[in-house]
């Protein structure tokens, strides 16, 4: 191969310079984008805030008690909305609006408590399994897989049927069932972190397990775990409502949204209005959709995609 040495015919150009300018090292990555809610995300946030307020204040501001009758003297099943019962009355003549407000704190409270429990144990077990080494991890993961292969609703039904339905039992059951899911999630996130060099650096330094878990792994696992919390909460709300709908959740005469739908299903056929069914169903749907809109914003924030450039 002969050496190619055709001299370029292009000009030599030198940009103006002075002797004082120093050439700093350039930053190599653009700063991470700040997170902002989109329009839909804001709507979701407003809806969620609304329901959280109702759940906190509902029992205090509800027009009537949970089992009080707006029209005690009349036969008043499935009435249309009217003064005194703004969302109508239910199958047992009670005020739908008041029950909805009481139900809010119950549905939300149970779901929230259960999700917290699921996170508490799921995260401890998930991260624990990784740091405990491959053998423990293998055993715990297999057991977890076994529980996950059982349909959640069925597990819930059986437990509740066996030991009876009460609010603490509901919380514990849902908490236990979703611990399996959180376990898998936490383990996956932890696996990605534990192979990082900074974790190894801490090991080489001689730092103990406690330091590595609390200072190196946890701060990095927290964000992805928290951003998944919303999704998990939705699933637990749906689970609790479904149990309620099947008559195995919150027991009458206490109200929760799922059991309200069940109690009032008759309104679809012979009610004066459909609201006794629609109202709690819409309540669940708006709450979960609201959470989902916020969650969706957070997750789509991660990473710009190439599709716009095709």
């Amino acid at each position: 191969m002969t050496h190619h040495s055709r001299p370029s015919t292009q000009e030599h150009y030198v940009a103006p310079f002075d002797d004082v300018t120093s050439f700093e090292e350039l930053k190599d990555a653009p700063p991470p984008a700040k997170f902002k809610l989109t329009f839909m995300g804001k709507i979701g946030a407003v809806v969620v805030t609304f329901w959280v307020l109702i759940a906190l204040l509902g029992p205090f501001i509800a027009p009537l008690g949970e089992n009080e009758l707006p029209f005690p003297d009349a036969y008043s099943e499935f009435q249309a909305p009217q003064p005194g019962a703004w969302l109508g009355t239910d199958v047992d003549d009670r005020d739908v609006l008041s029950r909805l407000m009481f139900g809010a704190s119950r549905t939300l409270g149970i779901a929230f408590a259960a999700t917290i429990i699921a996170y508490f144990f799921g995260v401890i077990l998930g991260i624990g399994a990784i740091v405990a080494g491959p053998k423990v991890d293998l055993v715990v993961s297999r057991i977890n897989d076994a529980f996950m292969s059982l349909p959640t609703i069925m597990l819930g039904l059986v437990v509740v049927a066996a030991v009876g339905s009460s609010i603490p039992i509901l919380i514990l059951t849902a908490g236990f069932i979703y611990t399996t899911v959180v376990f898998r999630l936490a383990r996956g996130i932890g696996m990605d972190i534990i192979v990082m060099d900074y974790v190894e650096a801490a090991k080489v330094r001689g730092d103990g397990i406690w330091w590595i878990v609390t200072r190196e792994i946890w701060p990095n696992a927290a964000m992805p775990l928290i951003s998944d919390f919303g999704l998990r909460l939705i699933i637990v709300i749906l689970f609790i409502s479904s149990l309620g709908f099947l008559g195995l959740g919150v027991q009458p005469p206490q109200a929760d949204w799922g059991s309200m739908v069940r109690e009032n299903l008759g309104a679809l056929q012979y009610g004066e209005s459909y609201l006794p069914v629609i109202a709690p169903a819409v309540a669940i749907a708006t709450l979960t959709v609201g959470i989902n809109l916020v969650v969706d914003d957070i997750s789509s924030h991660a990473g710009r995609k190439l599709s716009g450039r095709m």
């Binding site: 839909m40 529980f147 679809l268 190439l306």
Partner: protein, 316 residues
């Protein structure tokens, strides 16, 4: 590759065994045994002892477990506690309904949803994409009975079509008649699985769309359709198959709410019955069937994903 599949099979088997132990022990923890439940509270100790011996309940747990497992594998699930009918017969009746509804839902829902999701990924940010994404975000988060109620309101009460309750024998029905018969549950379930399938297949394709080889395809001037269908979809098969499998498993094991809502007799209502009558022999068998179904479906999905991956198919 074969060793990978063998390993996956082994894991599936271990999972099923672990579940069988969990289920067996679970029923032992519950108060009362089969003999007590069958004879009732007032039964004498002698009668109980006799029945226990006949049912093998006097043997050590591990023997009981083994004979239960062996019988189960041979298709003998014992008799139900209430009614003393063979469980396999009970289940067979219900399985048919469940399979019809799930099969039809899958047949209609899965291809449409995946296609919609992939199309959304083709035009991200377009009006079509936004409407579809919003609808599926909404539906994925709404409870099944909400969707069912909306459908009932619209079709039955507004349009006056069909009825809120699905009942009667399906013997001798053709495909079209079956679809008509189960129209409402099938539509509800289609919506339920569609929302998740649309979202996940869209996400799976978009995830691949961030890869450098897609950028390369763009820089080679490859048209959009080909980028999606040839370059991206092939690499998104694994995750898409996985969601499909999860949804199929749900269709067989998780449709309790929909069955109850429309009061048709499927497997899920059977389990509710079992729970309500404390017939845990029945519940035990159903639990095993559900778990095995789940494991088999996930196994097929995993093997499909292994086969779809050229790294596994064509090792170095």
């Amino acid at each position: 590759m074969l060793s990978l599949i063998a390993k996956r099979l082994g894991i599936g088997l271990i999972t099923v065994l672990a579940v069988s132990i969990i289920i067996f022990l679970g029923t032992k923890i519950l108060p009362g045994d089969a003999a007590e439940l069958r004879l009732g509270q007032s039964a004498s100790a002698e009668n109980l002892a006799v029945l226990r011996e006949r049912l093998g309940l006097d043997k050590p747990y591990w023997q009981q477990y083994l004979s239960w497992l062996v019988n189960f594998v041979q298709g003998d699930m014992g008799n139900s506690l209430s009614g003393d009918t063979p469980i396999s017969g009970l289940i067979a009746d219900r399985y048919q309904n469940t399979l019809i509804v799930s099969g039809l839902t899958a047949l209609i829902g899965v291809p449409i949803s995946v296609a919609l999701g992939v199309m959304a990924a083709m035009f991200p940010g377009s009006t079509y994409d936004r409407v579809l994404t919003f609808t599926s975000v909404t539906l994925v988060a709404a409870p099944e009975f909400f969707t069912a109620t909306l459908l009932v309101l619209f079709f039955v009460l507004f349009l006056g079509m069909g009825s809120t309750i699905v009942s009667g024998s399906t013997d001798g029905m053709g495909l079209f008649e079956l679809i008509q018969h189960f129209a409402l549950p099938i539509t509800t379930l289609c919506f339920v699985i569609a929302s998740q399938l649309i979202r996940m297949s869209r996400a799976a394709v978009l995830n691949v769309m961030a890869s450098p080889y897609i950028e390369m395809a763009i820089l080679k001037g490859i048209p959009r359709r080909r980028i999606i269908l040839r370059h991206a979809l092939l690499n998104a098969i694994g995750p898409i198959v996985n969601v499909i499998a999860l949804n199929l498993a749900y269709l067989i094991t998780g449709v309790i709410v929909v069955e109850i809502y429309f009061s048709y007799q499927g497997l899920a209502t059977l389990i509710v019955q079992g729970v309500q009558t404390r017939d845990f022999v029945l519940v035990q068998s159903l639990g095993m069937i559900f778990c095995a179904t789940y494991v088999v479906i996930m196994l097929i999905a995993d093997i499909a994903a292994i086969l779809a991956n050229p790294r596994q198919r064509h090792p170095k």
